[in-house]
């Protein structure tokens, strides 16, 4: 089962490696990780996606709280947070038909074209996790995707 942990960490040299080390040295896998400094720059907000049974997660949370540099650890309940993910896709637009199809999707989901060169387009979407997934499959069905990347998830 996937769990999301939100950590407030003192922005000190080596602090992040302590957090990561806790996971790796116990054989826990980190699936996604974002580090964003807060406006004071003294603290960072860290989001970690990890999986494991509830017991393991409880243990990870306790271990995290024990780290001197960790100010706060919260496990996120999905409903309490606004989450956004960014998706970047690289596609080749050979003809007008394809271009039309893509424009339709871009309009529908507030996407934008951020780069064009030699018929190669890079387009961007930002939306909720499930929407991003939907967009991705829609595009995949209609056109060959050369490359794509999605960001970690931002919460507030």
């Amino acid at each position: 089962m996937q769990h999301v942990l939100l950590i407030i960490l003192e922005n000190e040299a080596g602090a992040l490696s302590r957090v990561i080390g806790l996971f790796s040295q116990r054989g826990y896998n980190i699936e996604k990780l974002t580090v964003i400094p807060t406006h004071t720059k003294l603290l960072s907000n860290i989001t970690i996606y990890t999986s494991g049974n509830l017991n393991i997660i409880q243990q990870i949370k306790k271990q995290l709280k024990k780290l001197i540099n960790v100010i706060k650890v919260t496990q996120i309940k999905y409903s309490d947070y606004i989450k956004q993910e960014i998706l970047l896709i690289k596609i080749l637009i050979k003809n007008e038909i394809i271009k039309k199809k893509i424009t339709k999707i871009l309009n529908k989901y507030n996407g934008e074209i951020i780069h064009i060169r030699n018929n190669i387009y890079i387009i961007k979407f930002s939306d909720t996790i499930s929407k991003i997934q939907k967009i991705f499959y829609k595009i995949k069905k209609k056109i060959k995707i050369l490359k794509y990347i999605n960001s970690a998830i931002f919460e507030i």
Binding site: G14, S17, R18, G21, N55, Q58, L67, I68, I71
Partner: protein
Amino acid sequence: MILLSGAEMVIQSLIDLKIQKIFGYPGGAILDIYDAFKTLQCKKIQHILVRHEQAAVHMADGYARATGKIGVVLVTSGPGATNSITGIATAYMDSIPLLIISGQVASNLIGSDAFQECDMIGISRPIVKHSFLIKKTIDIPNILKKSILLATTGRPGPIVIDLPKDILNQKIKKKYYFSKKNDIKKYFYLKKISYTKIKNIIKILIKAKKPIIYAGGGIIHSNSYKELYKLATILNIPVTLTLMSLGAFPGNHPQNLSMIGMHGTYSANMAMHNSDVILAIGTRFDDRTTNNIEKYCPYAKIIHIDIDPTSISKTIHADIHIIGDAKKILKKILKIIYLKKYHIDKKKIKKWWKSINTWKNKKNIILSKSENIIKPQKIIKELYLLTKGKAYIASDVGQHQMFTALYYKFHKPRHWINSGGLGTMGFGLPAALGIKLAFPEHLVICITGDGSIQMNIQELSTAKQYNLPILIINLNNQSLGMVKQWQDLIYNGRHSHSYMKSLPNFIKLSQSYGHIGILLKKKKDIQNTLKKSLEIVKKGSLVFLDVHIDPLEHIYPMQIKNGGMNDMIFCK
């Protein structure tokens, strides 16, 4: 306000923080600190020059375990720092408060693979409670203060401070001062002890038909032996100890079932297995004490008291737990028992005590009679009688460690010093020297094996330099006994690389270091030779007693792998 160099600040801060001993070894990156001993004309701190950095850490560790104070170590960058790692890991596993100050190359060279550079913060990260890389000279006093606070409070542990050479420069003086404020408040935030939980625990303990107290090293760290004693005797509950807590409850007390676990006593393991309530205090249910957790104490309700939240329900689920300092919690339990005037019927668990006493009196282990050859059990028993259970005993790792744990009855806490968590061979001798430095007037004995002693034997030289008359008892079975035992039990007796050819002549070896070496080979000489050795030690010389013991002896009881607490074997 005085002006000091960074190096002088290190020493002056340690003086101001009431540190009395530093164990160390010099090198390029910390020469400024060594110079500061001279420029400050430091008399308040004694520096002990070891022969190997690993030994410096074990020495500081022995000092810390015996005194309850922090042990301080000073090592240089690169190889000095890496040599200290085994010692740090040893202390970390047993929650010992240490401060390791390591030198580092100058700030502008960090990351350039400079001479004697190594990433000490990175290497030590998983085995420290916390670590600091100091970047500014003026931060030195406060970070030292903070480190000592962190190392000694909560669940104690080692702290590493890495000091780049440039911030120590003896030629640059800066203002030396401690700030008043404490910026680690979060760390001291502890929940209030719940009154209802305490009342609930008392009720469960009073109602229990087969209660047992399982007390770990936390009792020693929190100095709560008196409280443990009171609680156990008021309620008439049997007490079992871990390898780490021997001495926390008097060894000869009728309620003491002694050590539990892999090599624990029959009565302790049987009582644990059959109990209906376990009060676990300051212990982490280490795998050496639980055997197979699936089969662990099937009838017991578990109450767990510990300062470290991560220890609660980590391996064994706790039905009730309280997080906090064992001393405070035990005090509160005692106070409420006293105030509420609970009716305690000691006779109610009479039947339980009857079963326990049958287990206690059962003679499972029958030592084969031997005319001449010395049995390790015998010599430890004799040592116990001669020293009345009052000596400080440091041990190495192997069969001799378990023989000592089982056959020497420790009457006082902090007198049994050994590496439990990491099981580090080579710990014994330096640890014993650390204890002797803390308590020069007391008898300190190091029990070791022919394998272990050779892992830090060079410290015999340190012992000479600082005149530290301890007694070393080398239980010499000419093999890595514990390894051989496992090979006997699990690998059909195939002794692969577990014996030592070409052992040194330990008598001559200790003599060449300037000590007294004595050989003990015959059973009938045990008492006299021990007495004689103790006398020489008392007069101020280190004695290395090389005892040739039965090389075939195994340590029993031993729990059967993957069994329950009650699955034990007693002979080959």
